[in-house]
């Protein structure tokens, strides 16, 4: 695998987050029935950043926020060599009648989102669910799932790997694309 190539640098990265927050505010205006839910673990980081921006830009501070772990809902359980480590699910409210904004960093095969939607059902019947992702790898989907809000779109082959890095975790906000060397394909 090559060294990662930066496809979104810090400045445009933050502009993209800013745009996503405005798009979400444009849709919902009033956030009293809305809850923002991040998928563990990288989706939660994006969700927290977007939540702060939305609160700041919409001047609404009491937006419901939750974290969703999908480990126990994954369909690739047991087809993996080793099990995935579960994280915490922190949704201490019912989703009945809520408008859910589901957030993940990279939308790839769509399987995580599929698992997340089954997991959400166990917390009540949401009135709507919308999907936000920072990176959409649109040509690699396995399931008929698409995001409602997209940061950037990346067209890459299956063997490539996209990573979102965060300032407070990895040192800088950026999106990296790792592609295999030609002979490895």
């Amino acid at each position: 695998m090559s060294r990662g190539r930066t496809i979104l640098k810090s400045k445009p990265f933050n502009l993209t987050l800013e745009r996503l927050s405005h798009q979400i505010i444009e849709t919902y205006a009033d956030f009293s029935e809305v809850c923002i839910i991040g998928i563990q673990e990288r989706g939660v980081v994006l969700a927290e950043r977007l939540l702060a921006l939305i609160q700041n830009n919409s001047k609404q501070n009491n937006i419901t926020f939750g974290k969703l772990d999908i480990t126990f809902y994954r369909d690739d359980f047991r087809s993996r060599e080793t099990p995935l480590k579960a994280s915490q699910t922190d949704i201490n409210f019912s989703l009945d009648g809520k408008k859910v904004v589901l957030i993940d960093d990279v939308l790839y095969t769509g399987r995580s989102v599929h698992a997340a939607m089954s997991a959400l059902q166990d917390h009540g019947r949401a009135s709507t669910i919308e999907l936000v992702c920072l990176v959409d790898r649109r040509f690699n989907r396995h399931l008929p799932i698409k995001a409602d809000y997209v940061g950037i779109t990346v067209d890459s082959i299956d063997e490539a790997y996209v990573k979102v890095e965060w300032e407070h975790i990895d040192g800088a906000d950026k999106v990296l694309l790792f592609t295999p060397k030609r002979e490895q394909i």
Binding site: R42, F72, F77, P83, D122
Partner: protein, 313 residues
Amino acid sequence: MSTIQKLSTKHLLGIKYITEEDIHLIFETAKNFKEVINRPIKKVPSLRDVTIANLFFENSTRTKLSFELAEKRLSADVVNFSSSSSSVKKGESLLDTVNNILSMKVDMVVMRHPAPGAHFFLSQHIDANIINAGDGTHEHPTQALLDAFSMKERIGKLANKKILIVGDIMHSRVALSNIFCLQKLGAKVKVCGPPTLIPKNLAMLGVEVEYDLHKGLQWCDVANVLRIQLERQDIKYIPSLREYAQFYGIDKKLLDNLDKEIVLMHPGPINRGVELSSDAADSHHSIILQQVENGVAIRMAVLYLLASSRGGN
């Protein structure tokens, strides 16, 4: 979605055969399942393609119920078997019985058996994952795990904590599994009971013996009280239950007379008035009902982690 982890073993035959890391992994996973079983919808689909047989060659109420609930909350398919209503009565061997059940495509076996080592024997002959739900007077690993998990929840890390196990140590599989588990987590373990019910070579396990209950309670942070297992005693080890209750029964007065607060545990079923008085069992010292709740979470964690080691179909 991160750090991938795996148990070091394919079966849970006893605490003796697993590592400290395994115990921590089970605890971590159980914490997540505890959140699941406190939701309005207490179910996850993880084991929906797994079939589990509960084979109980010995009576059990709560362990069986707890395992069955854990299996159902993981969406596994469950079949139950108890020896009282089976062909074991007609003279079939253990291996034949289990092989017959496995031919019906069962992936995991939860078994309780009166013979110590029955699970070990089985694990060498069959392919399914085996979970020990009690083998004679040998081990009862999930009970020890849920005990240690409940202690940790109440008093924090167990390293250097003092745990007293009170009662019929000789006939108790809970005592042995507890000793292994607590020692692996770095706790200090003492046992307390009448001399006839303390096994001879306990010192080899690094366990001290205390015959005076009051002194023992004064020493410990947690007292795990066991039931007198009259059904396992072929001869009389104690003169009478009344005398036992007088010397080794714990009541509220005894707890109030201690210099410190201790935590009281019991694996159940309690003989009220024998090893524990009602006012002690229902006092704020007691975490007996939390133990039962944690039992389901721990068993879900064990089943989940073992199932994930099975690999794809």
